[in-house]
């Protein structure tokens, strides 16, 4: 009788622990995020997106644990309990009506933004946003139009990064998603466009 209830308690504890471990180990799916970013960038930039060098390669973010996993002593027992697939191949869902709508808005704006990228007046920032590279190079009559385009584009980009995080039920991923996008926008930029390198200096592709 006693052994039975002990076993039962043990089972319950194991189930509870394994369930807890599954929810704790939330890896940011960096590789999946890069693929999702590439698809969105292709949609927004259309044929203008350059074939992605290094697309699908995993960045240094891969496997970064967002919330610290269970202590080492417990881990080996639990590893055996969790189905391998659950932790090994995390997915990232970058489709939601909000994302579609934002993508459409950005795609429409790209007609106006592309000439500015081509001329080098606007460049791709290291932070996942666009920026006016040299404000003085913009003719006075155009300055507010350029400022507005950049401002509205960045508002949409901020919303896009947030909505992708929200669509995956992980709002705290927003920063990492933005970082992945920052790299992918630059990787897929056309030759001649300007981008900010890691030290914040402008460079031309």
């Amino acid at each position: 009788m006693n052994t039975l209830s002990l076993m039962r308690a043990g089972c319950l504890a194991a189930i509870a622990l394994s369930a807890a471990c599954v929810t704790i180990n939330v890896y940011f799916p960096a590789a999946a995020a890069e693929k999702a970013a590439d698809r969105i960038i292709d949609d927004v930039w259309g044929d203008s997106a350059a074939p992605a060098p290094g697309g699908g390669e995993t960045s240094s973010l891969t496997g970064g644990t967002l919330l610290v996993a269970a202590a080492g002593a417990l881990k080996w027992t639990l590893d055996g309990l969790i189905p391998a697939a659950e932790a090994a191949e995390p997915n990232l869902d970058a489709t939601s009506p909000e994302i579609t709508r934002l993508k459409t808005q950005m795609e429409r704006r790209f007609t106006d933004l592309k000439p500015l990228l081509d001329q080098g007046l606007v460049g791709l920032g290291a932070d996942g946003f666009v920026a006016v590279r040299d404000p003085s190079a913009v003719p006075l009559a155009e300055r507010n139009r350029v400022r507005t385009l950049v401002g509205n584009e960045n508002a949409d980009r901020a919303a896009l990064y947030r909505e992708i995080a929200v669509a995956n039920g992980q709002p705290q991923w927003e920063t990492q998603i933005r970082e992945v996008f920052a790299g992918r926008w630059i990787a897929k930029a056309q030759p001649g466009w300007w981008y900010q390198n890691d030290s914040g200096a402008w460079a031309q592709k």
Binding site: P97, P135, R143, R147, T148, A155
Partner: protein
Amino acid sequence: MRTALLVMLLIAAPAAAVDRVELRIGRVDASGWQLRDVAADWHRDGRVRLQTRAQGQALPHPLHAELDCVRLRTDDGVRCGALRLRASLDGATLETTGAAHVATADRWQLTLQQARLRLQHDSEDGRLAAENLQLGLSGDIDRRDGETRLQVQAQSLGGQAYVEPWFVDLDTQPLALEAALSLSGTDALQIGRLQLRLPGAATVAASGELRLSDWTRRHRLQVDVDIADTAPLVPYAQAALATTRLRGLQADGALRLAATVDNGRLVQADATLDDLSVTAPDLAAGFDGLDGRIAWTDAGTARASRLAWRSGQIGRIPVGAAQWRFETAGRRFALREPVDVPLLDGSLAIERLALSGLGSEALQADFAARLRPIGLAGLCRALGWPEFAGTLSGSVPGLQLRDGRLFLDGALSASAFDGEIRVSDLRIIEPFGVLPRVAADVHLRRLDLAALTGAFDFGRITGRLDGDIDGLRLIGWEPVAMDAHLYSTPGDRSRKRISQRAIDNISAVGGGPTGLLSRGVMRFFDDFAYRRIGWRCVLDNGICRMDGIRPSDEGDGYVLVQGWGLPRIDVVGYSRRVSWPVFMSQLRSIGRTGPARIDGS
């Protein structure tokens, strides 16, 4: 120091009965000042020419100056008639004629006539720029008793300017400026009058005082803006609002603004509107005949404000004349008396509206309103929907803003088709963000299907219908997500019949065959009895996952209409995943053309 030295030289020269003195000094140093390449040329007949490059702690760039005096008298200090001055500092060049009188270093007067100022400037961040900007100036500068007084009139002669976010092309939009300023000591500037005029459109007048050394933080200014005609200013308003939801704003009418700014803080602002029309295309809203006075104060006792409009439009719904009496101070707004806003043949009666924390994350609202019955026929007409009878009413006893979402308490209910439609848990997600969304739960109870199918030209169905549409989310009034379930009202004992055409339509919408029933023996029946109808759609990402009352007996379909009696007709659907846009276009085509028919039999 500099003046004293030169004056001494010039006074000494005639004494020696010399005809001409030419003097070049490489460098003159004084406390805070340095002159380089000073060249002075004196003629016996009184003509003097002076050239120098000056650099001072107060000057960001070296100043080049050339001064010509045609008549120089030195009996009472130095008096220079028919003066010609050319000075340049970085991108600014001033050329002028006039007269000067220097009695002492602290008592002098300069008169400018037909002065011309050219500006070429671009700030490092590009937010302030002038391109070949030219101003014509005339006025007096007068230094006496430790006070410098400036009286000047200026008008633009051409060129372009950019003061973020405004671009002004002075070739097409001339400006005129008048100023009466006085400087006590070197820091305290009194603005007696500073007036900027855009001929035919607006006048901006300012007065007050400021500290030159820290003018962005230490000032007290009274600014009055009088806009006789807003139309020429619309491009400037649009430029300022281009990144907000008010982008594309149109305005026509008169507007006066008065503001008091104290050390960088707005302390009081009054706006007077006179027959103003405003349209904001992005918000799909506009108002005509706006009249009233809005009096805002930063702190202290709130004053009475009034705002009225003659007519308006919110979305596609016309809004009637309304008058708001309220008070607003700091981040607070409160209605002084209830407002009745006519909407079609009904109205929105706002009994209570008090907001605090306006423009901040901590917006709090105390709101209570009732929707007085609005005829659905008129509403449907306004929205371009098929017309049907009924009324819409409801009450919103409160609203809250949390996490960028505006939650409306209470519910709206419509009595339509002899049943009830209830909209509850209404929320507006990020109402001021880049992607405003509306979310709600909708419940339908005991709708008369005969009236409903009649309104939508779907083919006749009789009986009663219930529905639960949970988690409905709309972007731009288009549903993008929901869990919708429509089903025969449980326990309904009314006569349940469905026409051939309705069956055809249900089948067509589901992608199935049409016209099957108009062949063979079935064609003798106009309609059929049914036991239950049920349809479910879980919409997400443009895909509707469909289901019916229960799985079909054969195959992996689902039953949409369960027949009853003889002849018994069951309608079974097989498509589980249906594209929502395709589904909607099929539904719309039914309303227009009726179902497809197959001839013969």
